[in-house]
Symmetry: C2
Subunit: 353 residues, 2 copies
Amino acid sequence: MGRRITALEVAKEAGVSRSAVSLVLNGRADGFLAKDTQERIREVADRLGYRPNLLAQSLRNQRSKVIGIMSDRAVGGAFDGAIIAGADAVAREAGFMTLAADTGGEPEKAEPVARLLLDRAVEGLIYLTVGLHETRVVDSFLRVPAALANCYPTADSPAAASLLPVFIPDEPTGGRVAAEHLIALGHRRIAFLRGDDDSPASFLREDAFRAAMGNAGLPVREEWVRHGGFRTRPAYAAATAVLEGPADRRPTAILAGNDRAAVGVILAAANLGISVPADLSVVGYDDEAALADLMVPALTTVALPLQEMGRRAMASVLARLEPEAAPAPTSPPAQVLLPCPLVERESTAPPPT
Amino acid sequence: MGRRITALEVAKEAGVSRSAVSLVLNGRADGFLAKDTQERIREVADRLGYRPNLLAQSLRNQRSKVIGIMSDRAVGGAFDGAIIAGADAVAREAGFMTLAADTGGEPEKAEPVARLLLDRAVEGLIYLTVGLHETRVVDSFLRVPAALANCYPTADSPAAASLLPVFIPDEPTGGRVAAEHLIALGHRRIAFLRGDDDSPASFLREDAFRAAMGNAGLPVREEWVRHGGFRTRPAYAAATAVLEGPADRRPTAILAGNDRAAVGVILAAANLGISVPADLSVVGYDDEAALADLMVPALTTVALPLQEMGRRAMASVLARLEPEAAPAPTSPPAQVLLPCPLVERESTAPPPT
DNA sequence: TTGAAAGCGCTAACAT
DNA sequence: ATGTTAGCGCTTTCAA
């Protein structure tokens, strides 16, 4: 492992002082150093393959240019991955790197992990969760600019946590749009499969469904509003129950709790000989990568703004770090709802006549 | 943002020198400092909430305790995520953190990204790819202990790259095991859907299939060996073609190129009224999270050792960093094939009689 | 225009 | 058993 070139060596080789090197490489040399001296220094640095030691720079400048990202599950899932990707892109744009760590699903690890990140001198912190839910904000998050993505503070979080910017999906609108899509296609007999009970999104989506039906003057048949969960198998069972019976007495469309549940619905339909979308329209939720667009028929669904949550959370942190570069809105709203666009694919069509 | 406590402040408060603090906190104090002094220092450090600045430590010790992980695609997918998770777990175990970055799919970014990581003083480097394939190893990877996961060096890589430890799935064995599973169940009419042509895994799996059939004295029907790709839709079409015709003239089992293709097979079978696994057994490959175990019926598949590749790659790097702690095997083989275990679920059964 | 010097927070060899 | 000192690589006054 070859030793790295230091600024001092560049200075020697170029026959100048190491402050000269520093000045030139930081673009502060104009007016101090002769143009050709600057040029020579740059040339030598290049030739020697000089690269500044970012650790030393960080220490000296008290500025690490690193933002910490914490996830509540093992970093690596598709959901948190997309959020991190969004955050990372924005960070890199601004010359920052991201340092990611996860709590491995153990909430009590949040504080120690955050401290570890802080020990590495991260300048800001982002906490994100795989599914939308409440999170207890730990004290470390109040020590630097921070933001929450896909989650919001619990009531027992430190008081100041309520000031943290929160970026979450606009589930009410997403749920409404999904229902309205079906209604606009002409469906009147629409079933709703609610997701897991421990997710706030499940109820938000159900409420939105009911509201949309009400707005359209359509009745909600309670026997068609059932728990389907967030996984394929239970949804398969729920869909089978709803779909049994003659064609004129079953729903012509089903809104599933999420994409995995929608897969269960499609599989159940196939098993019953019901053709999607000719006889039954199916709408998922999440636009889960490598799932929704992978079904045959491809799944119409509502996309979660995963990347966008990451992007916005990072932007909000960065804005507080460099006020001049990206002036924050006068009074940033504590909670931002990001749109969940409908992604129309093949699994929805007008109802059979 | 509250200022952090430094070791000097702890020293003052405890009425000792800052070297005393350093010694105690690094466990080198025994024999130098009185027990009760040590105790007092620890107590004060705790009370003040002192935490060493890891940046300063890294600079001083020339030891950052950080390993860089590079991925060829946007960090966040399920495949690279699992590899990173494995690597990260091993790193954390050893008191290291990981700094992840990706090339965003642009090979020419590999070098600059690696340099960025090196500028942050990472002590080692791991390169991983989402799918198994060749990669041009960049020079930066030869400057520190490094390893490759799920990929191997191209011929035009620097000569020294051939010495890099490589951790890849044992596709030949995996493919063989999949075929033998079907054969052991009693299947004789087995079709094979090859994956994408640009993946070495596709051909490795096909060769393994042919070998297993040969070993069992079973004929390979060329019209049942077709290109199915790695995505659902083309596989759906290929499976439909293979499955048309009367039950006694079609295969009783299909080996798909990967799990997504297997989903296409299952969907195609459903569409043709062929029941899985009663009339047709289906085997996937990859054990893609949130896909294989999510189908109904759940997919029998061959698991890729994703986490294991990450784990082993990290262990290999760490071993060279701390020779005493984890003595490397005398002469580590340059290329390690990691087993791909069969995961038996519901989509396979004995053939119809 | 340049160079010397201080200091970011830490560790370790050395002197006391 | 304790304190002093030098230095990791860098930036930034300040004096020359």
